[in-house]
Structure formats: C-alpha cells, structure tokens
C-alpha cells in the first residue's frame, strides 16, 4: 500500500478514534460511554491492522469489544445506575486532577515523539505479525511474563468464584 493510501486509512481510523475516546469521557450516559469505547476499540484495531499486526488487532476486538465490553454493558444494565448517583460523585477537584493528568501524559508522549524525530516506517518481514511469529516470541522470549499473566488470570478466576460463592 502506498504511503498516501496508508495516511488516508490512518486518518479514517484516527478521527473517529479520537471522537469515540472523547465520547467515553464526555458523555453522561454510561451505556453511550461504553458504546463509544467499543467504537474506539474498533478504530484502534484498524490502526493495528495498518501496522500489519493482524493478530493483535483481532485479539483486541475479541477480548475487549467482544467479551469485556459485553460484561461491562451487562453490569451497567443490571445495576441501572441512576443519573443523580453518578452526578454526585463528579467532584470538581477530581475533574481538575484528571485534566492535569491528561496534560501530563500528553506532555510525556509529545516529548517522546520529539525525541525520536522524523523517521520513516521500518520495513517489516513477510512473517511479521502473523500468529506463528507472535506465538514464537511469546513462547520463547516472553515465556515467563506469559506464564505469570496466566497465573494471575487463574487467581482472578478463583477469586471471582470465591466471591460469587458467598452470595449463593
């Protein structure tokens, strides 16, 4: 794909991504916010595809948009949060801290981008981003973190069962 086309696709995904991300933090309705997050995940997946990271892109959709967001929606719908309850917790001070944090993160990223300077995208091999390549790296170079993560998830499952069992 040519650079121009790549840029076009990039912007096609980026503008909605930013809009959706803003939607997550700005909208008052929790369901709308959650749906914006789903949209954001999809746009992000598009950008991953652009970076020839197909596996990561679809993992992202499967895990976040598919499983986690559905659970999110589930919880929001079940709790049926009243708007006034949500409104009370919005303290001005917290908003100030949040804004400050955003500016800080933005500044850090901006500096990092400045530090790297303008550079062409590196050419990647044919194998890059495929299941095989990711699997190979995951099971050799990053085996320990991978296993540690799975252990963490196991603990989380056991914890969830224990918590749920008390209620039943």
């Amino acid at each position: 794909m040519g650079d121009r086309a790549e840029m076009a696709v990039f912007w096609i995904f980026t503008v909605p991504l930013i809009a959706a991300s803003l939607g997550v933090v700005v909208t008052k309705n929790p369901i709308t916010a959650a749906m914006s997050l789903v949209g954001a995940f999809f746009c992000l997946a598009g950008i991953y595809v652009l970076l020839t990271a197909h596996l990561v892109a679809f993992l992202q959709i499967l895990v976040y948009a598919g499983a986690i967001m559905v659970l999110f929606l589930f919880v929001i719908m079940l709790l049926a949060l009243q708007e006034e309850i949500l409104g009370v917790s919005r303290i001005k001070v917290m908003q100030g801290f949040g804004a400050l944090g955003c500016v800080g993160v933005f500044a850090v990223i901006y500096r990092a981008i400045l530090a790297t300077g303008p550079r062409m995208m590196p050419q990647v091999g044919e194998d890059y981003g495929t299941v095989k390549a990711v699997g190979r790296i995951l099971f050799t170079q990053y085996l320990l973190p991978f296993e540690a993560t799975s252990l963490l998830l196991l603990v989380a499952i056991v914890g969830a069962v224990v918590v749920a069992k008390q209620r039943i």
Binding site: A8, H54, V70, L73, F74, M77
Partner: protein
C-alpha cells in the same frame, strides 16, 4: 404424516407474467449472485489488478499515482457484491425456510407471490421498508437506532474471509478464523444494545439472555475451532481447506475422533450463537413476546431478520470450511489450480474448476443450512438454566478434553501417518451406517401409520 384425503381445493392459476418473473428470479438471482462472486473475487485481487494496470493502462503499478484509487474502487465493488449477496441470499433463504417449514408442518407455506411464493421475500422486504420506523418514546433514541447496524456490520464483515471457492474469497487473511470469531462479537453488542435501549422489560430480558448465551457458547465454539487449526497448522480459512481433501475420509471431521465429537459441539454452539432453535431463548416468542426485537418495527426489524437468515449461510459455511472439507473436489489435488492458473488472465479450464469448487462448497453448505432449518421446526426450546448448564457442564469440558486429545493425536499421527487415513475410512463407514439406520427408522415410522414417502406437492 398426511391428513385425511380431502378434495383438493380448486387451484387458481398464477398469472403468466408473475410466473415468468418468479421463475426467472428463482433461477437467475442465486445463479447470478454466485457468478458475480465467481468472476469478481479473483479478478479484483491485487495481483490481477496490477496486471490490468500494466497491460491495459500501460502504467507501472508500483509508481502510478492512481493505483490506490483502483484498489479502492475494486474493494468497494467487492464490498457491494458481498453485501448484496448477504442481503439477497438471506432473503431467498427466508423463503426457503418457510417452504421447508410448510412441508414439515404439513401445510403449504408461502404460495401467493409468484410461483411457489418465491417473491414473498421481496414483498416482505418492501412491506417492512414501507412500515413506520417506530422509536418508543422512552427509548434511548440514538442507541435504539444504532443497534441494528452493529448487528448488520458484525454479520456482513464475516464475508471478508468467508471462502466460496478455491481462490474465491475476498481476503485470505492469516488470522481468518480468528477474524470471524472476533467480528461476530459485534452482533452480541448490537443485540445487547437493542435490548437495553428499547426501554422494555421483555427486550431487556431478551438482550441479557442473548449476551449470556453468546458469550458462554463462544468458549466451546472457540475450543472446537482450535482442533481444525491444530490439524491444519494455520488459522487461514483457505489454508484449513487446503489441508483437507475432497473425499470424506480426508475431511477433518472423520480424520480424528475428537474432531468428530467437536463438529457436533461446534454446530450446537453455532446454533446458540445464531439464536436458532433450540437456543432461540433471546427472542422466545412464547416467553418474552419477541425478546430484544419487541420494540423494533419496519426497516430496523428487517435488518435483524436479515442477519438471522444470513447467519444460516455463514454458520454453515464456517462449519463446512473447518470440518467438512470446504470446496475440495474429490480427486483434484491442490496443485492443479495453480498449474492451470498460470500468470496473467486465467484460462477457461481454471474458471471451470473454480466454478466446480464453488458448487461443491455451496452444495455442502446448503445441506447444513437445511439441517439447521429442520432442527428449528422440530425441536422445542430449552430453558435458560439448561442452556447454561449444557454449555458449562458438558460442552466446555468435553471440548477441552477433545482439544487435549487432539494434541496427543497429532503427535501419534506424526509418528504413524496411516492412523489418520484408517480413522478417516472407519469413521466415514460408521457415519454411513448411522445414516442408513436413521433413514430406515424414518421410513419405518412413516409406513407404521399407513403413510408413504410423498415428495410431490411442492
């Protein structure tokens, strides 16, 4: 079973024009759709497009300014073709299902619009588009309107990797199967949204049932998918088919006893994910009125139903792809396609072979589609807790065990390759025997009540 013989009602003759239109449509529409897919898909691939730019437009595709434009147009054409295939074919399937249901229920089914009622799906579509698109007053306007599109997009996107023939797939991604599993997640989000935003308790019930059901059944389905992936060593849809063969004992389903069991688990899970009977709990009309669809009307309602019938094709096609040998024609090796194709514009023989592979694939898929339809009109609906316990207590552990078995099986097959062929032939024979026994029992049941097999009166 047949009714008591009653005098046949006087048949009103279909007007000639309606007859011509419906017969032409019945033949031309599916045939035309498949032909367009057959020609458009391989021709609009980058390699041939580059060739087209080089030879016809006399430009160097690597440097030509408008190359991306040509690609974009090609992609748009493909998107148009496949979106229309999805829409029109699910329409035709809706008519087909209603006709089959009529047969099963010992009635006629749609028979007014055109010969055999073929045009009924067009009439339905027109009716639904003309109807008022009602949004309940207390509903969440934006989400209520958006929900059908989530469902629709999640469904249409599966056609990106869904194969139709040897080189007939929009894109043969290396993560194809994974793409399908992830993209169908959008359907759940859409259903959940429609349930919530309708601001109706029935719809909310339906939406929550659906979410719980689909998220649960994704696990056995995902585990079942892993086995063909293990056997083929790739996630690409075409790669999985290429690893199989044209003869039954070369299909994955028969080559491995675990795959045989997992085919049924996968099929069940697909039924659950597509909300088909006996897993139609989300829209259970006798319990939840219409579930998440309760408040929808007009075009938005039509979109939900379009997806429901379109899912018939996609779920069957996926099962055919990963378990039943896909488009593989018996005795035709994979290399033959490449040999025939050569470079540049492919020769007629190649097109013929492609058409044949498409035919094989479509035929297998239609068989499965009919099985799904048959199940829908014979089985009752299971209860929510039964649906959950079936998934978590039976399907998940069994599919996990099958998955582990396959790991060992693959090691054994690597050591003794004959094992796979022997198992394939054995399981094929067992299946044929079971099918014959089933047919005999059916015949016995029909004759027991003094009836006969009657295939007339379509």
């Amino acid at each position: 079973m047949s009714a008591l013989p009653t005098p046949a009602p006087a048949r009103t003759k279909t007007p000639r024009l309606a007859a011509i239109v419906s017969v032409t449509a019945a033949i031309a529409l599916p045939l035309g759709l498949f032909c367009v897919i057959l020609f458009a898909t391989p021709l609009l691939q980058p390699a041939l497009l580059d060739g087209f730019i080089r030879e016809r437009l006399h430009r160097d595709p690597a440097t030509w300014y408008w190359r991306d434009g040509v690609y974009t147009v090609a992609l748009l054409v493909l998107a148009f073709v496949f979106a229309n295939f999805a829409a029109i074919f699910s329409g035709i399937l809706s008519w087909w299902e209603r006709r089959v249901a009529g047969r099963i229920q010992s009635r006629i089914g749609p028979n007014r619009a055109g010969v055999g009622g073929f045009l009924v799906w067009i009439a339905d579509a027109v009716k639904l588009i003309l109807k008022e698109d009602l949004v309940p007053a207390e509903a969440d306007q934006m989400l209520f309107r958006a929900a059908p599109y989530f469902v629709m997009v999640g469904f249409i996107l599966t056609f990106v990797v869904l194969p139709f023939g040897e080189s007939i797939a929009v894109s043969d991604m290396n993560v194809g199967l994974f793409f399908i599993t992830s993209i169908t997640a959008l359907v759940v989000v859409g259903i959940l949204l429609s349930g919530w935003s309708s601001n109706s308790k029935w719809a909310l019930f339906g939406g929550m049932r659906s979410a719980a059901q689909v998220v649960s059944y994704e696990i056995p389905a995902g585990l079942a998918i892993m086995v063909p992936v293990l056997m083929a060593g790739t996630l690409s849809m075409q790669g999985i088919i290429r690893a199989q063969g044209g003869l039954p004992w070369q299909w994955f389903i028969f080559r491995n006893p675990a795959a045989f069991a997992l085919f049924f688990i996968f099929f069940t899970s697909q039924l659950a994910e597509a909300n088909r009977t006996p897993f139609d709990l989300p829209e259970a009309e006798s319990e939840l009125v219409a579930g998440y669809l309760s408040e929808y009307s007009g075009f938005r309602f039509a979109l939900f139903f379009l997806v429901e019938w379109g899912n018939l094709w996609t779920m069957s096609a996926i099962a055919v792809t990963i378990f039943l040998g896909g488009w593989q024609i018996p005795f035709v090796p994979n290399e033959l396609y490449a040999q025939l194709k050569g470079t540049g514009f492919p020769p007629l023989a190649w097109w013929g072979l492609e058409a044949a592979s498409m035919l094989v694939f479509a035929a297998k898929t239609m068989v499965l589609v009919n099985v799904v339809v048959w199940l829908r009109w014979t089985l009752p609906r299971i209860r929510v807790d039964q649906m959950m316990s079936l998934c978590w207590k039976y399907l998940v552990p069994v599919s996990f065990a099958c998955f582990l078995f396959t790991l060992l099986w693959q090691i054994a097959v690597a050591a003794v390759p004959a094992l796979e062929t022997a198992m394939g032939v054995g399981l094929t024979a067992v299946s044929v025997v079971l099918a014959v026994l089933f047919a005999r029992q059916t015949h016995r049941n029909i004759t027991a009540i003094g009836d006969r097999v009657d295939l007339s009166n379509w």
